[in-house]
């Protein structure tokens, strides 16, 4: 079957882009960056209001801005970018045409319409319900309808991705199994389908409630199903950004997985267990049984944690093996010291790995422990945790990948390469600080989604300790630094796209050159020998474990001093 399209081979990377897929990736990536920009501007309002000595916005504006910040960032920025990544992992890596480009464009249009509709609803007021929109607090019908349209678009895009895999298989554009990175993307897609269906199950009735077709949605049922959607959507992000880690390791170092079996097995664990962990958002809720909480939040979740701990070793491990083969073999860490720290694709991914593991991972497991959840539920610790996962982990990894895509996909020279070099450090490290002080304030009890920690106008006001005020002040300082880092990313990306020097796109052909079969390479594995292939990564992993164990038990000690509860 021949379909009229063309394939461009990029002279800088050797990657082959099909013309429809390329345009779709570009459109989705640009839409993503637009929402990152909006969400970033809103972050200024959020952070300057939570900084106690500035306390900038009025209460109603603050809640409006916070609702929009959460949705624009967590949903629109991330999912638009993910769709671009899915098309890259299918059409580009497997060198095939994209299935049904017209439908893919329709999906994109639906997503744009939905996102705009939802934003308009929020700014009009009357829909400041936060991204979780817990019933019985109601938003305008167009708030829910916007989200539903966006979700349908995203679901259609997932099926275009799956269809593209079928095309590649049928047209034999590669041999054997799909690459590990594509495998990770498939994981993300499978979880996405589950997620979007859960979202529909709860948002469609809520939409009907908002237009008066049905008269009640049970608040506890809402919370339970909403989190089946809200939690698993975070696992889409994890699968997506871990795929990007492997991809960047491959692109920058030519690294191959230490063993395909372990890395793929770890992705499989995500599919099997992650969506069952939505319980950890309901640990402080009434009406949910202890057994259900323990089994869901832990047993299954810890297999997902196991999977993340595996990737945490195998990604740096793959880099270490590649570096050692290049001769950086001295001591434990020469491979790391001699890594290209000036390449923002690498530095971004590395800062993301460390921050995601140490800050996001450890805090996430702590707060997902049934009893420990009592000491942080709904405090500002929670946004502290998820800015470590979804900003340091996901967002920074997307930024790192963008620096690779500017010359390759956009065909532009990066404007301000020096600025781009510093960006991951500024953004990533100030986010480290931001997350730490939010967790600190949360440990002291400071609430999330709260306009005024001084309780202006409250009859029985509470006085937070001075340390809590100090930490919330530092949230402001680190937050502004991070926003500056985000602004640089947007400047470099948009600037390169608009004004960067045009680069040669490479040869264009009207047929695909299939992925060449890879010659079996000498095994990295030192089967059964006493030498370890990645001792440095192993030591890093042990340091991680020590921090994890220590922090985990400190919190049990803290819990044991509270009022008795039974």
């Amino acid at each position: 079957m021949s379909i009229a399209t063309t394939y461009r081979t990029c002279p800088r990377s050797g990657l082959q882009f099909e013309s429809q897929a390329e345009k779709l990736m570009l459109a989705n990536a640009v839409a993503a960056v637009v929402f990152l920009l909006i969400g970033g501007i809103l972050a200024i309002g959020v952070v300057l209001t939570r900084w106690p000595s500035i306390h900038w916005l009025e209460a109603d504006t603050f809640y409006k801005v916070l609702t929009a910040h959460g949705i624009d960032m967590l949903i629109f920025w991330i999912i638009f970018f993910e769709i671009a990544v899915l098309y890259f992992c299918s059409s580009t890596l497997l060198r095939c045409r994209i299935a049904t480009p017209k439908i893919a464009w329709a999906a994109f249009a639906l997503m744009v319409v939905g996102a705009v509709m939802n934003n308009v609803a929020v700014y009009q007021g009357g829909s400041s319900v936060m991204m979780t929109s817990y019933v019985p607090m109601m938003a305008a019908p167009s708030f829910y309808l916007g989200l539903i349209l966006f979700a349908v678009g995203a679901l259609v895009a997932c099926f275009v991705f799956l269809g593209t895999l079928v095309v590649a298989k049928a047209e034999k554009t590669y041999q054997g199994s799909v690459p590990l990175v594509t495998f990770g993307a498939i994981t993300a897609t499978i979880i996405a389908v589950f997620t979007i269906v859960s979202g529909a199950i709860i948002l469609v009735p809520t939409y009907l409630l908002s237009i008066g077709v049905i008269d009640a949605v049970d608040p506890l049922v809402y919370r339970t199903i909403w989190w089946a959607f809200g939690h698993s959507s975070q696992q889409i992000n994890v699968s997506a950004h871990i795929s990007i880690w492997y991809a960047v390791a491959a692109i920058v170092f030519g690294a191959r997985p230490m063993s395909e079996r372990v890395s793929r097995g770890a992705f499989l664990l995500y599919i099997l267990f992650l969506q069952l962990a939505s319980a950890h958002h309901l640990l402080a809720d009434p009406g949910v049984s202890t057994e259900w909480k323990v089994v869901n939040t832990s047993y299954f979740m810890y297999f997902a944690v196991l999977a993340s701990m595996i990737h945490g070793l195998t990604v740096p491990g793959a880099i270490e093996v590649a570096q050692r083969q290049k001769g950086y073999n001295k001591g434990l860490f020469e491979w790391l010291r001699k890594a290209p720290w000036g390449n923002p694709s690498f530095s971004g991914v590395f800062i993301a790995i460390v921050g995601f593991g140490f800050l996001g991972g450890i805090s996430g497991v702590m707060m997902g422990t049934e009893q420990l959840n009592l000491i942080i539920h709904n405090t500002i610790y929670v946004p502290g945790h998820f800015h470590a996962t979804v900003v340091i982990g996901t967002t920074l990894s997307f930024m790192a990948l963008t620096y690779f895509l500017i010359p390759v996909l956009f065909k532009r020279e990066t404007i301000a390469p020096k600025l781009a070099q510093w960006q991951p450090y500024l953004f990533g490290l100030s986010m480290y600080g931001f997350c730490l002080v939010m967790m600190g304030a949360g440990t002291l009890g400071v609430s999330r989604r709260h306009w005024d920690m001084a309780f202006q106008g409250a009859a029985l006001a509470y006085e937070w300790p001075g340390a809590a005020y100090m930490m919330m002040g530092l949230v402001g300082v680190f937050g502004i630094a991070a926003i500056a880092g985000g602004a640089i990313y947007i400047y470099v990306t948009v600037g390169s796209l608009l004004w960067g020097k045009k680069l040669d796109g490479g040869t264009v052909s009207d047929r695909t050159t299939p992925v060449p079969p890879t010659a079996p390479a000498a095994a990295v594995q030192t089967y059964g020998s006493s030498r370890m292939v990645a001792p440095g990564s192993f030591v890093l992993a042990l340091i991680f474990l020590a921090a994890f164990v220590l922090y985990y038990f400190i919190n049990w000690k803290y819990l044991s001093q509270l009022w008795g509860l039974s």
Partner: protein, 179 residues
């Protein structure tokens, strides 16, 4: 060959593990099991476990029960009579209403005594955030959550609402005295 190309060996799933990977897998697995059993252990030997006792309720039903407690055990009032301070006997059922935008009434409990604290909301979701002890429990409308509490220190405690509940959210603070 790299992670962005198909694996070179067709039978990649037959590859033996590398030592580093195998060792880490074993360590991580053991740690996961420790964390799992820690929760079970705490249910058997720990003193802080959240009760799951819950009943369906309505604002009218819950208000009636709360009012009965207030009528029987009020010891004084605060803020010009707006808040009764209620001191039910140890071991009894005590009620606290969460609503836009206050917690009602003020409770007075005794240290090292146990009470069955009933919580619900009259309208939206609210949060029961006991400060400075830092115990945080979700309050969901329509559901009466019965939590058995044993205060272990005397003092004045605040109950801060930490679930967003509208424009007056930041004024929603209640109080519990422990003698």
């Amino acid at each position: 060959m790299t992670a962005i190309a198909p694996p070179s060996e067709r039978l990649w799933w037959k590859h033996p593990l590398d030592r580093v990977e195998g060792l880490w897998l074993a360590i991580a697995f053991v740690w996961c099991m420790v964390m799992f059993f820690m929760m079970v252990y705490w249910h058997m030997y720990g003193a802080q476990n959240l009760s799951t006792e819950t009943y369906k309720t309505t604002p009218e039903l819950f208000t009636t029960k709360t009012q009965a407690m207030v009528d029987q055990y009020t010891v004084r009032t605060e803020l010009d009579g707006a808040y009764p301070v209620v001191a039910p006997p140890p071991g009894s059922d005590v009620y606290m209403i969460a609503r836009l935008w206050n917690f009602w009434p003020i409770l007075q409990l005794e240290k090292d005594q146990t009470y069955r604290l009933h919580l619900t909301s009259m309208d939206y979701n609210h949060g029961f955030s006991l400060q400075p002890a830092n115990i945080n429990i979700q309050i969901v409308p329509g559901y009466e959550h019965v939590v058995t509490v044993t205060p272990n220190q005397s003092g004045t405690y605040s109950v801060v609402c930490n679930e967003y509940c509208g424009i007056g959210h930041h004024t929603m603070v209640g109080r519990i005295y422990v003698k």
